[in-house]
Symmetry: C2
Subunit: 145 residues, 2 copies
Amino acid sequence: MKVLSKSSEYGLRALLYMVRKQNEQEYVSIRDLSEQLDISFYFLTKILQTLTQANLLVSYRGPNGGIAFKVPPEKIMLSDVVRVLEGSDFFDKCLLGLPGCGEMAPCPMHEFWKEIKGALKQEFDTTSLAEMGHNAQIRSLRLIP
Amino acid sequence: MKVLSKSSEYGLRALLYMVRKQNEQEYVSIRDLSEQLDISFYFLTKILQTLTQANLLVSYRGPNGGIAFKVPPEKIMLSDVVRVLEGSDFFDKCLLGLPGCGEMAPCPMHEFWKEIKGALKQEFDTTSLAEMGHNAQIRSLRLIP
DNA sequence: TTCTTTGCAGATAAAACACTCTTAAAAGCG
DNA sequence: CGCTTTTAAGAGTGTTTTATCTGCAAAGAA
């Protein structure tokens, strides 16, 4: 069950890593993140740019520059990140991919899926980055644990 | 939230359509299915071939041939279809895509995701094609409702 | 100022996924 | 048998996602 794209996977991993590093340094460089998490520097740069443009992060150029949270991670919900990286309709899609599906013209799985989707959305809406970030060891965010 | 690939979307739509057509004729031709559901004939053929090879369907060539359920749709669970078309590890993946994630080396989201995933699996495991198929109008399975 | 370090923006390349085509094989019908 | 209808199998094409490269702009330090 691949729910998230690579962009979201990498973005979340980077943000969770930052939650744990937060107190050590103001700005974290993308190079560091990419090396620590075994994620392509180029690709990660793009993803974090998107999060910066969405005002979840701030960036600073030059030596000792990098990125930092603009909003405290206690106030960033998983759904906020996911909606930026996957699109705002992330929690509103038909299981069968039918564009016309909705309350007016439900597909056979509409009610079934609506319930599951609602519960999932609820969890993502109420779980913050901070909450998740303090859950585990940093190394568990790496590719090879 | 794109949970299913196009293959699964198309496959499920075809099977749900068949549930409703089941009593009318023994075999349904893939050509008919593709036309009724606005799905590419070539692509649908491949998908249904896979389901036939997985012993969920039987096929018959020649005039008035087509495909039919091998197992009654009351006994085919949504998870059966999905596991064939998406792979058997469908309900066992890490949210962050980390290959090493598991009980031994959980990623920060492991517990969180495990619960959601479990509930989802439970629903897919206990809901049959027959149950879903009788839910709605056939036309709601078409692309343009 | 000049050099180094860092992120930004747009272009390009590779890989995965979705879809199409062609040929073959099976089954029925005259 | 020869012809038509239908699925099977494998190769080929197109599109989207993922990843990489190149040039540039901002910021700090010598």
